[in-house]
Symmetry: C2
Subunit: 715 residues, 2 copies
């Protein structure tokens, strides 16, 4: 429970100082100046009094209870201090010092010692390598950032500078403020997902804003995010996507940056609003914290000039948001109050209609939001600046409109977002909108992104029931024969299943595949092959040869006895040549598959998220176009459909150029089976079904490779 840590009622400053340039002095002054309601205990063996407070030799000397320690001393002192904190039953410690894992081997050892001490003593750690934390409600400012605005957003940040950026932005642009700020630092003890859980349960927090460079417990994070985002939105920017960015993040917080192809869709499945441009991070959080989500993906634009409307329509269209037609009734009502030149289709352009009375904006907004096709309203242009740009007296009408707009959102439960090119000016009308929690942006691009995020969050809330919760029920549907196949390999100290074993395993769980038979000599090969109605394929079977083609261990299109026997001989010869002394178990004889559409399915264990699955079309679509999709396992049968649709080539499955289309039902079943298999046999490290041939009806897993974990689990 982080309650005692983040809502601490008493704080000890370890490393308190009289030197005004030291963090140990500034931290105490910050608590005093901001009016922290709890106890403050300076700790410094050499001082009597600091900033008017009695100073303690060490934390155990304090009489009353201590919830939290802010430790400002260097890295090497930390384990010792934590021992004392443990004795004092301190709930948590914020560790400012850097110099741990981000500095390499020596730092890593020190970090491990620190974690060990923390676990032993029960003290929970924030950081190290953090800028600190702030609780805005109790005025516990342990980050040394002054004038942080209070509000409804919890900020969880893995870079002190990014926190400062977001806080500055909130201040300068008069956005919503914060409930808490947590600098996660190296995430040595308390993990991202624990903060999520805490903020989910905090009634004052309406949105959670996260800047992540890397996280160590990806799957637990997804699980908590999945629980959280249905209650309140999570807005996240993950940096370190590029190779250089990753390098930079690595030297920064010392944690591994995650692979974006896996992370982004996984985050989104957990309902997280993933942001890629840092400009959008705060405004989107602000919008989601204060405005209702849009459930029908449809928005109307209200403009007082063409340019903004056109750009806005372009951007929203890029985001896949519809600008629905307005009903005849809506259009008639708008015509009734707007000049003839006005455009009453969506985007609505008042065409000078508001020039003499900007309060008309509210009347238009009311009419538009009453339209059943419209899920929300984006006002773009000069609103809030009529009194500045034209005639001061017009400000009255704008203020009247602002009040009306503010009440409209509450009543209609449809959001209003305002873009105003006067948002940086002193405008009472815009301040009123902010008072009513209507976001005001000077950027049209950012305004559209906010609309898009309201749509995305709305869509998530609608589809929530269909989403898997990222929890494995290990061994759930394991079969005895399957366990035996794996056990046999393990007994032989193999971490690779032979092709026939792998095929047997997947067939056991319902995958359509020809297992075939292993021939020990050319006569056996022909005995098997001659029973195959069409042509045959021969493939080397050896635990030492993973890539059969590389070893010239595959022969296709074989029909006659001569062909089959010659193929057998050549395969064996090639294998011996490829790897002398290889453990050759024989040659697998299977029927040659009919032509169809080539599919690739693979699973692996991702460092951050655990088991993930990849799906895509084979050939150039995967190799050149990189048109594949990665999903964190397990996947529900429903989400298999979504997974297939995530690839651009999925339209091919529906049939093009006169083709009738392919058996998507069987494909979905196969993906489901893979998910089930990984859940059933935790011993599996990697599985490759490549190629799978998809037909108009049915499919055929032509090759299967399964690699087991090494070192084996439990050994």
């Amino acid at each position: 429970m982080l309650d005692k840590v983040l809502n601490a009622r008493s704080v000890a400053i370890v490393g308190a100082s009289k030197n005004k340039t030291k963090r140990g002095f500034q931290a105490i002054k910050a608590l005093q100046n901001e009016g922290f309601e709890g106890e403050i205990y300076p700790i410094n063996p050499k001082e009597e009094m600091i900033a008017g407070l009695c100073c303690y030799k060490d934390i155990t000397q304090i009489d009353g209870p201590v919830d939290l320690a802010l430790i400002t001393t260097p890295a090497r002192t930390i384990p010792g201090i934590l021992e004392q904190c443990g004795k004092k039953k301190v709930a948590g410690a914020v560790i400012i010092a850097g110099g741990f894992r981000e500095l390499g081997t020596r730092g890593k050892a020190l970090e491990e010692e620190m974690i060990h001490t923390a676990q032993k003593t029960g003290v929970r750690l924030i950081g190290p390598n953090t800028s600190g934390i702030i609780n805005l409600k109790s005025h516990m400012n342990l980050a040394g950032i002054p004038n942080v605005p209070q509000g409804k957003i919890a900020l969880v940040c893995q870079s002190g500078n990014m926190a400062l950026t977001l806080i500055t932005e909130a201040t300068v642009r008069k956005h919503e403020g914060f409930t808490y700020y947590v600098g996660v630092g190296n995430e040595s003890d308390i993990k991202f997902h624990e903060y999520l859980e805490f903020f989910r349960n905090d009634p004052d927090t309406k949105a959670i804003l996260m800047y992540v460079e890397g996280m160590s417990e990806g799957r637990k994070f997804l699980q908590e995010a999945h629980k959280t985002s249905v209650e309140k939105p999570i807005i996240l920017l993950k940096s370190g996507r590029s190779a250089t960015g990753k390098k930079s993040a690595g030297s920064h917080t010392g944690s591994l940056a995650g692979m974006n192809e896996v992370a982004k869709p996984a985050y989104e499945r957990a309902g997280i609003i993933v942001i890629e441009n840092s400009d959008e991070l705060f405004p989107v959080a602000n919008t989601l914290a204060s405005q209702p989500a849009i459930k029908n993906n449809a928005i109307a634009i209200l403009a007082d000039g063409g340019g903004h409307a056109t750009i806005g329509a372009d951007l929203l269209s890029d985001y896949g948001i519809s600008l629905p037609e307005l009903t005849e009734q809506t259009r008639n009502k708008l015509r009734g109050i707007l000049p003839q030149a006005a455009s009453v289709v969506n985007p609505v352009d008042v065409a000078g209609g508001t020039d003499s009375d900007p309060s008309l904006f509210a009347d238009c907004a009311q009419i538009i939001l009453n339209d059943p096709n419209v899920g929300g309203l984006l006002i773009v242009g000069l609103f809030g600046g009529y009194g500045i740009r034209f005639e001061q007296s017009l400000a009255i009408g704008e203020e009247a409109a602002a009040h009306q707009l503010g009440n409209m959102v509450k009543k209609k439960k449809k959001p209003i977002i305002v873009h105003s090119l006067y948002s940086a000016y002193d405008s009472h009308a815009l301040d009123l909108l902010r008072h009513y929690n209507i976001p005001v942006h000077d950027s049209l691009d950012v305004s559209c992104k906010c609309v898009a995020s309201l749509c995305k969050y709305g869509a998530y809330l609608k589809s929530y029931h269909a989403v898997t919760n990222f929890v494995f029920n290990w061994h759930a549907r394991a079969k005895k024969t399957g366990q035996q196949i794996i056990a046999k390999a393990l007994e032989e100290n193999r971490h690779v299943l032979l092709e026939n074993e792998a095929k047997k395993l997947i067939k056991l769980h319902g995958a359509p595949t020809s297992v075939g038979h292993v021939a020990k000599n050319e006569t056996e090969a022909w005995d098997i092959a001659k029973k195959i109605p069409g042509k045959a394929v021969l493939k080397i079977v050896s635990p030492d040869i993973l890539h059969k083609s590389d070893a010239c261990g595959v022969k296709l299109n074989l029909k006659t006895e001569t062909e089959v026997k010659q193929a057998f001989r050549e395969i064996i010869k090639n294998a011996e040549h490829y790897l002398s002394g290889a453990d050759i178990r024989g040659v697998l004889v299977t029927p040659m598959a009919q032509k169809g559409l080539e599919i690739i399915i693979g699973t692996k264990v991702d460092e951050q998220f655990g088991p993930v699955i990849m799906y895509g079309l084979g050939g150039i679509m995967v190799e050149i176009m990189k048109d594949v999709t990665f999903w964190v396992l397990p996947v529900s049968p429903t989400s298999c459909k979504k997974m297939i649709e995530d690839t651009r080539s999925s339209v091919l499955l529906d049939g093009v150029r006169g083709h009738k289309g392919y058996d998507k039902k069987s494909l979905k079943k196969l993906i489901s089976m893979c998910s089930e298999l990984i859940e059933a046999y935790p011993e599996i490290e990697e599985m490759d079904l490549n190629p799978v041939i998809l037909y108009e009806e049915g499919l055929d897993v032509v090759d299967a490779r399964i690699i087991l974990k090494k070192p084996l689990p439990g050994t």
Copy 2:
């Protein structure tokens, strides 16, 4: 020549008024208040004096010369007023009124009447439907926007609100200002390209910033842009990309929004920096107006904290910009002045090294810019805010650094871009940077886009010699036989060449293709087919049947006499069934092409840009992945290479999965030939070579379709 119009020394205000709310009053006051240096003549038959100036009954009554008329009266009055302007030999008129083509048929007729009058009288028109123009140098403000900052950017804008947005941004963010503002409006007379020519020749303009919704003379614009961008950068945002955006732009300025797939690459070929997010428009123009271009696509980042460096590295990597390694010497020098925890690889992180003395930023910058691998520097983080965030006295060091940085750019000819989260605060150091023309941004995203634009512009300047100038030399390499083929079709009143004619034409210009022979009956068909070494293909020949497959008019893989004759009979029967009474010229017999890689090449006449060519891989790559590229013709042999590389699938041509690759040389030659053909025969409206089969060596144009212009040119 627009000189007399945009640099007018005398202005008549037609529709001058004593009513303070009228444009006809405000315009005069604006000229007076801003100190316009020329003559001002109010025109109003009912008044004697307006704003202290003598008022004239009509423009012809004025004694002195009049360069420019600002007409604020309604649409219907314009043609009459222009007649009078003509008599007075006024060089140009700015027409504010809307109510022309954007309102439909009636408005369009009025606009045409107006254009006719303008052409007859020689008066050049700006607008109609414009917010006006401003010459900041002569203080001729005819747009009614107050406090426009003067500077080095010419603003050409097709939306008054977007102009206001950009001017507001320049003011609020203390960016560079403007030389001119032109509201293009409906672009009825003076076109975008004429403004380009004017601003190219204006010595005070260092960059041209354009917001375009649609333009009527795309090709001339490209030609002027090509001449201009090598001298000064053009920065352009084209809105109306989406269907809804297009609709909105249509109702706005009444001009057709251009197809983005054609427009964007064409603009970029002409050296234009194309912007898609309106937030980036002004900052990029500001950067390009004030900083040297980056020629080696390589930048270094200097940061005072990890988060910004990581995000910046991600974004720059997305833009394809390299963050080169620093030399050993550079790293050693940095180590010499930075603390041990600092990162001296790129991104450089000072890791607290500037905390006590921010002037160190300049020393680091100096060392980094001396590195031969580095083309420019991006400083990210808190610079300019040390005095605000930490200790006021630190501002001195920041100011010292600002002076050094300013002089460094001048000396090293390498750009510096600064991201500062204190850019909205009052910081003398940041103001100093601005004084030295170093752009300062509060947005990290925008900062990176500015760097990317400097790289893009630098790359253009380097490759300028290889770019075609968008000028056709019509009929240049026409051949007599080719002209005869076209003439014959025209004589027959056909606007479609028969397949054999089309193939003859392209073969004449060197395209590898089997023209084949037309058989009139089945015996002739077999006579032709039996001479073909491999298999034959039979195809219907009829000017009435454009889509041969739809009419079941194609038979493949024919070998025997029976097959060929039967195919002939079926094709004729199918064609008669498909379109009874069709003009059937016979059946074309050609060799069956070998298998290879399917390519599509097509040309058409684009409404905005004239002839364009499309290239792409056939099959799913064009149909599903839309992996095609459109280029405005003509294309130089050099640019054919670039055109092929523009498709993502181009790697396929180099050979994958063990394939040796395809004959790119022949493909480039074929594209070149298409360009030559369109130039040689202006009668061609559309040409389709589909499919072209590409081999390891050589290629084969299997089908060709050429459609001629209709109505025919000159008739």
